[in-house]
């Protein structure tokens, strides 16, 4: 990443942390809740969400849910447990292997072919979402999101799966900013230093699957989204033309994942079009 871009992406750590803590506290309590829960994968994004939530609400109001699948790396679970111990937060381990395997045993038979890794990965992400929302009702706790700005923009996530949440403190932080803030709030070193992975199959890493590094993506996305430079201008400033084009298309193609379903306008006031209130309405 170019130095000037890296410098521009540096966040003011105490200020950012305090804004995000305030966000979690106020938006949760306004909704009439006092607790949150989230999936803790052992990766850096959910770890940062955990630290922010524990700081905002106190460790006893934060519940970590660890949801390994049988092929998940044991290191992921160990890293997640280190966060649990360090923060002293309650946790539940829910193995999703049984329900996911049962589903595909049935579907592979019906469709006459084994499910692709994409389908399996999506199903795991949505199984975890179902578990979180069930526990949300069981515990009276809001689901906190753990998707960062880079993956939301790239659409590198499962719609209604890991992208689902009631509120997301880290959705406006690029991956490099997640790293910076994670170090600041004290996320364990083993998590800070390992390669990011969705851990949906063995030896998967995000950057291998995406075909570019998060740093490259952040550099391009920042210039395009935040600075509103055109793809041509970003190339002029030294980025690889093919990569810029690939990333821009990816963001466009995945816009649907970032929006609620569109509704056909029929009446004079249509939800999502001209029926406009904040979610905070009435809170």
């Amino acid at each position: 990443m170019r130095e000037s871009v890296a410098a521009a992406l540096q966040v003011n750590e105490p200020l950012t942390t305090s804004i995000l803590e305030g966000f979690l506290r106020e938006e949760v309590q306004k909704s009439g809740f006092h607790k949150v829960l989230f999936g803790l994968s052992g990766g850096i994004d959910s770890a940062l969400s955990a630290y922010l939530a524990a700081r905002a609400l106190g460790p006893n109001h934060v519940h970590a849910v660890l949801m390994p699948y049988r092929t998940s790396s044991p290191a992921s679970l160990a890293d997640a447990m280190e966060v649990v111990k360090d923060l002293g937060i309650p946790h539940t381990v829910v193995d999703i292997s049984g329900s996911v395997d049962a589903y595909f045993a049935q579907m592979d038979d019906k469709l006459g072919e084994p499910a692709s890794p994409l389908r399996r990965g999506n199903r795991m992400a949505r199984e975890r979402m179902c578990t979180l929302y069930d526990l949300s009702a069981a515990q009276g706790a809001l689901v906190v999101g753990t998707s960062n700005k880079t993956e939301l923009l790239l659409g590198y996530g499962t719609q209604f799966g890991d992208m689902a949440s009631a509120l997301n403190p880290i959705g406006d932080l690029y991956k490099c900013q997640v790293r910076q803030l994670s170090a600041y709030v004290g996320v364990p070193k083993s998590i800070l230093e390992k390669a990011p992975s969705a851990d949906l199959w063995e030896d998967q890493t995000d950057e291998n699957e995406l075909g570019f590094t998060y740093d490259d993506a952040d550099e391009i996305l920042y210039q395009w989204v935040d600075l509103r430079l055109s793809p041509a201008e970003i190339v002029e400033r030294g980025a690889d033309a093919k990569l810029v084009d690939h990333i821009v298309r990816r963001v466009q193609r995945n816009q649907y994942k970032r929006r609620l379903p569109i509704i056909a306008k029929l009446s004079s006031r249509t939800i999502g079009i001209d029926f406009r209130y904040l979610r905070d309405w009435g809170l």
């Binding site: 509704i263 056909a264 306008k265 249509t270």
Partner: protein, 288 residues
Amino acid sequence: MSTHVHKVAMAQFSPVLGDVGANLDKHLSYVREAVEARAKILVFPELGLTGYQTQDLTLEVARPVHHPEIQLLVDASREIDILFSFVEEAEDYRFYVSAVYASGGSILHIHRKAYLPTYGMFDERRYFAAGDSFETFRTALGKTGVMICEDAWHLSSPYLLAMNGATVVFVPASSPWRNAMAAEDLGSHAFWRQLLQTYAQLLGLHVVFVNRVGYEDGVHFYGGSGVVGPDGSWIAQAKSNEETLVFAEIDVRATRRARYTTPLVRDERMDIVKRQLDGILRRGSTHA
């Protein structure tokens, strides 16, 4: 065809949101079709080159008038007069919803939308600068003027054009169906029809209405393009909801007869309007 009768073509179609290249191709193919049909004027809907809800695509789809893509359409006007609409980027980097009337390979007139709705489902003022005049220009049809969509929902716009001598008014639009619950003729469709008929009759002129079709994120544009004559009757009407190139023959002798029979424009008292408006503005009793 008599020199009094002019064939006008109206391209009622669904632009691709944000894809100027694809929309330009569509425009050029309608140009060919209209030329083959021996039409003299071809009118496209509001923001036909960009799609309507450009939002943050505005910066990407905006074109200065001298841009090669705009010039292609201007060049095409050697064969047929063309009224088309796009996001115009001005020299000072203001962005307008504009309509260009091109004829004989050059631009005769640019109208910048003056009324940018920001109520209900609309958000135009967030992205666009507003134009500030309604001027007329001379074409084979005589003096003509342009109102873009919401412009026509303000009484003064057609009034000013008529007082400026217009006998034909073009109304490119991207008008959505805003309420399908309204009885009978649906929502804004009925209102548009009444509005245009009334203007045509009161001001003794032809109104050429070209509205797009298609959907953008659940918002449905109904079309309903057509021409209203000075007697308030529809000379031609496109079907709702489908892409089509419709034609109408405008006979300027109808205007002559209407303006003689019911000389409302002749008898208009602009001096009263001016005196009273001056007074109203002086007293500051308006928010305009």
